[in-house]
């Protein structure tokens, strides 16, 4: 703390500023000659240069490709589903002049896209179908797979178009009607959805028909009746395949959510997941229901062993946040969403919006994503997302499309109507 008298001017509280503290000329040129300060100068310079050199050494090894020196070094791992027996069989059976074999291969890729959560399979499916894109009257199988691919890519308008062409040619094609029901419901065309379900009657299992109709009824203000009906059908069709029963249970879970029964929804989702353990929809649904109930631990358990698709990662991140831990999911999803943004895709707008709103707590960033997402898909989850963003921003205008959906559907989901009320909209009553 001792300052040599001839060095830097220092304000002395006692003598005040007008005291001659330093000789101007010395201060101006610095005092390399001053013993103490010269030593310090040297130390500072040497220290600074050493630090700089260390930084250079540390910085140089950072980015850029790594070039292994050993040929035996493992540089990566290819996905094991590449050796999936059904995929391999379809690949072997594929012939360039046979559209049915192309459709079969594409269907295998779609199956893998769901079971692994890997979007690359959508591209591979598209590649299999590509040679037949201009075919005049492609086989019905091919049109079905094409519609499913369009639906997976959230091109619901394209899927509807493909389906109407398909169903004109093959009006007794149950998968086509089922697809049409789903695509119509997602785009809030409840009349077409219910009609499609009705057309399934006599074409497929009665449980599927009931589940289809109940799902639409649940969205349009008849959740209680639909629940009773579907429960009866589930009990009456105990011999139906596990996957079909699981789907009926998932529908029951969603009906419970429409009635505001989160605990009941959690139970239905869980039962569905037991019946179809590889089904991601039931697991993600269960995780969402658990998160709504504030049981983050249950959400984590429901997702155990799931492949890391965006939907799963998002719920893991939300659960981790609720538990106050960091399992890295948020960082991984953030990185992935950034990579998807670079592609200029909006396929993941739902996940991106919910991530921004609920993980980052940034409603402003979530708003355009939620709006864009709602332009494409309008399921209760999308309605809720938009309403929540609007509530955070106290912007009822932003929520208008969602409020219109509520009024149009007469959906009685208490979470949605409460959000709408909070935004100052009149509660929705009455028959559709």
């Amino acid at each position: 703390m001792i300052q040599s008298p001839s060095t830097t001017p220092v304000w002395d509280p006692k003598s005040g500023p007008s005291a001659p503290i330093a000789d101007d000329s010395t201060a101006a040129t610095g005092t390399l000659a001053g013993g103490l300060s010269a030593r310090w100068t040297a130390r500072l310079v040497v220290g600074g240069l050493t630090a700089l050199l260390m930084l250079v050494a540390a910085g140089s090894g950072e980015s850029g490709p790594r070039r292994p020196t050993d040929d035996a070094e493992v540089v990566g791992r290819l996905p094991s589903e590449r050796r999936d027996p059904r995929l391999l069989a379809a690949q072997r059976a594929k012939r360039d002049d046979d559209p049915r074999s192309a459709a079969a291969l594409a269907r295998e890729h779609l199956r893998l896209a769901t079971s692994t959560g890997d979007a690359r399979h959508l591209g591979l499916a598209a590649a299999a179908l590509a040679p037949w894109s201009a075919a005049e009257a492609p086989p019905i199988e091919l049109m079905l797979v094409r519609a499913r691919l369009l639906q997976s890519r959230h091109d619901f308008v394209g899927a509807r178009l493909e389906l109407s062409r398909l169903l004109t040619r093959a009006p007794r094609e149950p998968e086509g009607w089922m697809l049409r029901a789903t695509v119509s419901a997602v785009t809030a065309d409840f009349i077409a959805a219910r009609e499609s379900c009705r057309r399934l009657e006599g074409l497929t299992l009665p449980l599927l028909v009931t589940a289809c109709i109940s799902a639409v009824d649940g969205l349009t203000g008849h959740a209680a009746e639909a629940t009773a009906e579907l429960k009866r059908a589930v009990d009456a069709n105990a011999e139906a395949p596990a996957e079909v029963r699981a789907w009926a249970l998932v529908t029951l879970a969603e009906l419970a959510q429409r009635r505001g029964q989160d605990r009941e929804a959690l139970d239905w989702f869980r039962q569905a997941r037991r019946l179809a353990p590889h089904d991601g929809y039931a697991a993600v649904g269960e995780a969402d229901a658990a998160l709504d109930l504030g049981e983050a631990r249950t959400a984590v358990d429901a997702l155990a062993g799931r492949p890391e698709d965006d939907a799963t990662l998002l719920r893991r991140a939300l659960a981790a946040r609720a538990l106050g831990v960091d399992d890295g999911s948020a960082a991984r999803l953030r990185e992935r969403l950034a990579a998807q943004r670079l592609r200029g895709e909006t396929l993941h707008a739902r996940e991106a919006a919910r991530f921004a709103l609920s993980v980052d707590g940034d409603a402003t960033a979530a708003a355009p994503l939620a709006v864009k997402n709602f332009e494409v898909q309008r399921e209760p989850a999308d309605v809720r997302l938009l309403l929540e963003v609007a509530r955070e921003l106290r912007d009822a205008r932003l929520a208008e499309p969602a409020l219109r959906w509520l009024a149009h559907s007469h959906c009685e989901d208490p979470k949605l109507t409460a959000l709408a009320r909070a935004l100052g909209a009149a509660p929705v009553k009455g028959e559709p």
Partner: protein, 371 residues
């Protein structure tokens, strides 16, 4: 048998987005005279669609990539093409350069060099994997003299027109000077640091009020400003050319800390060093801060020289301007019998408080001062 399918279809159809990422390749290009150099990162699993990688097993070894590389390089040369103005293809020289990890796994890295003879490259065509995966995209980062351009290439848009080199040297320099000037005027923390450094020199002087005295005082600022300039130019250069890279949060925190240190030192001397030494040592930190404004632009290496020179000049210009504007005021204040000491003391404390707030904001990622 149909119902089985149906059940499966239903799950798919619950409109759950599949995820992971679709197939992307990362293409970075940078013009260098008549050449275009760069690199292309392609996922190993995408390369496996083009050539057999490994012998049926899932594990890929470096040797597998190397032995597949002749086929892969042929494929690359035919699906990543560059044409010159005269529609003549430029010769491509791709080489396998190593591996790197992106968010969705391991990628092979190919170094690229296109030689277009005397013509300048004009049109880029990309159709790698277009047959195998129509969802494949190339995320292109193109270095231009104005900054990085981003493009997405895929089957729907396989072509990219490369703008002619455009701006002349003078225009580039002028833009860079503007950038540097703007950066320093917006950089309150840098200015605060500089002011804190020169404040004692301005305020603590003999009581005489002659013009020569005032001139000497102003001249006394020169070594300080010069050493700050030399120091931050040094680190700015190192950082801009990627010789040193530091996490930006660390740098930002260190800059805030430098304001606190220099300010506290004015009131309670503790750094036993000359003003100019302080300016140099702490100025090194500020250079790293400046560099982010420049490296974020993603300029080609050649344009970087011009940009660096211009930017630096702009920064000096800006800081001199601010000092020139403030010096008369400070001089006048210091000459008022009752104001000199409080100016130094409270000015420094004020700066220290701001520096501390900045430090807290940057260290803990919070927002105290509304922006």
């Amino acid at each position: 048998m149909k119902t089985w399918w149906l059940a499966l279809a239903l799950f798919l159809l619950s409109a759950q987005a599949v995820a992971h990422k679709s197939s992307d390749a990362y293409l970075r290009l940078e013009p260098r005279g008549q050449e275009l150099v760069g690199r292309l990162d392609v996922a190993l699993r995408d390369l496996a669609l083009l050539a057999p990688l490994g012998d049926g097993a899932d594990v890929v070894r470096w040797g597998d990539v190397r032995s597949a590389s002749p086929a892969l390089l042929r494929e690359l040369a035919s699906s990543l093409q560059l044409e010159s103005t005269a529609n003549t293809p430029c010769s491509a020289h791709p080489t396998l350069d190593g591996v790197v990890n992106h968010s969705d796994g391991p990628y092979a890295v190919f170094a690229l060099r296109f030689d277009c003879g005397n013509a300048s490259p004009l049109r880029l065509r990309y159709h790698l994997l277009a047959q195998q995966d129509p969802d494949h995209r190339a995320i292109v980062q193109l270095a231009t003299a104005r900054g990085a351009e981003h493009h997405v290439l895929g089957p729907a848009e396989p072509e990219l027109m490369l703008a002619a080199s455009g701006d002349g040297l003078f225009a580039q320099l002028w833009t860079s000077i503007g950038r540097g000037f703007q950066h320093i005027l917006e950089g309150t923390d840098h200015l605060a640091f500089l002011l804190v450094l020169v404040l004692p020199l301005l305020v603590l002087r003999r009581a005489t009020r002659g013009w020569s005295e005032r001139a000497a005082t102003l001249a006394g600022m020169l070594p300080v400003i010069t050493s700050f300039t030399v120091a931050h130019s040094l680190t700015l250069g190192l950082a801009t050319f990627g010789l040193v890279t530091l996490p930006s949060r660390l740098v930002e925190c260190a800059i805030a800390l430098s304001v606190v240190l220099a300010a506290v030192d004015n009131v309670r001397p503790m750094l036993r060093a000359e003003r100019w030494v302080l300016a140099f040592g702490l100025g090194l930190v500020h250079g790293f801060g400046f560099s982010s404004a420049l490296t974020d632009l993603g300029l080609p290496r050649l344009a970087l020289f011009t940009a660096l020179a211009g930017f630096n000049f702009g920064v000096e210009l800006g800081q001199l301007l601010v000092l020139c504007a403030l010096a008369p005021l400070l001089l006048w204040l210091a000459e008022q019998p009752r104001f000199g000491a409080p100016t130094l003391r409270y000015g420094s404390l004020f700066a220290a408080a701001f520096g501390a707030i900045w430090l807290a904001e940057r260290a803990f990622d919070v927002n105290v001062l509304a922006r």
